[in-house]
């Protein structure tokens, strides 16, 4: 039996917003969330039964976030996601600052694994890297956040 989309929003909406916030900062996050869920609603009838819905949503959010970051970095013509993309941050919240300071791959790996709960093999697929590289990016990111925490 197919799940009504409302349940998808209820179950995964808050987590996907956390992912968007960590990737983009609180200002762009809501636009990315709205675009993610609208795209998901559009494609939902074609989603294979038994799919990992959260992983699917995070994949869409990842693409939206990359679009936003590319747009922000458009002055430099490159297909690569900028390693340390500019983030719009509200106030001087320590956590946003710490997350925003991470290079994109580390930030994304930390968020996809530790916030969205994706296994490293899926994190690697999203980041065009191996499972081991994704694991390394996440642990480098966590280590950097810890160092920053201790330095406070």
């Amino acid at each position: 039996m197919v799940q009504p989309f409302e349940q998808v929003v209820e179950e995964h909406g808050p987590t996907v917003l956390r992912v968007c916030r960590a990737l983009l900062g609180p200002v762009d996050a809501e636009d990315a969330w709205a675009e993610t869920f609208l795209a998901a609603l559009r494609a939902f009838p074609r989603l294979e039964p038994g799919s990992n819905v959260r992983g699917w949503l995070v994949t869409i959010a990842h693409r939206k976030a990359i679009d936003v970051l590319r747009e922000a970095a458009r002055t430099v013509p490159t297909a690569e996601v900028p390693e340390s993309a500019h983030l719009d941050l509200v106030g001087d919240d320590e956590l946003w600052g710490a997350v925003a300071a991470l290079p994109f791959k580390q930030r994304a790996a930390v968020v996809y694994h530790h916030v969205a709960g994706l296994p490293y093999v899926e994190v690697g697929a999203l980041l065009d890297s191996s499972e081991a590289a994704a694991r390394r990016s996440a642990s480098d990111g966590i280590a950097a956040l810890r160092r920053r925490e201790e330095a406070r």
Partner: protein, 193 residues
Amino acid sequence: MTNIPMPDEATMARLHDRLVADADHDGLLDLAYRTVDSPIGSLLLVATPAGLVRVAFDREGHDVVLARLADDISPRVLRAPARLDAAAAQLEEYFAGRRRGFDVPIDFRLAHGFRRTVLDHLREIAYGSTASYAAVAAAAGSPNAVRAVGTACARNPLPVVVPCHRVVRSDGSVGQYLGGTEAKEVLLALEAA
């Protein structure tokens, strides 16, 4: 890292509203729903862009009904009260005794063939009056199909709005009702007042 805080309810409610508006704008709101409180319990109202498609009683299990509609019509289902404002307001007036008929667009796609024919005839039974299953069968052009009329009433996708509660047994007893015999008695008493 997992200490990035969970978004608060107000934020999620705002984003939900935005999603509903965007979905409606893009023609992706295949099924909108809301609930209304009534003297016969919470009623689930569901509408397609064409009109009201389902009214469900609490005892049917609103989640079960929505899951079935997701299967039968479309999984693009969102809680979107605005599309159902008119239906909700008219039901409220009806239960307050201030309305005798419903004037909202209706989508009959869940009833086919003879069942659909029966629904059309149910709408001809006036507020405050009743008809027997046999009389409805005769009106529908199949006097022998009394049992089929019973089935059509039991499976009416739009109870209250399409008044299957006005169909009673020939012996005068109220007969079965999807919302429970008690709910049927409440509706008949309301209309008799």
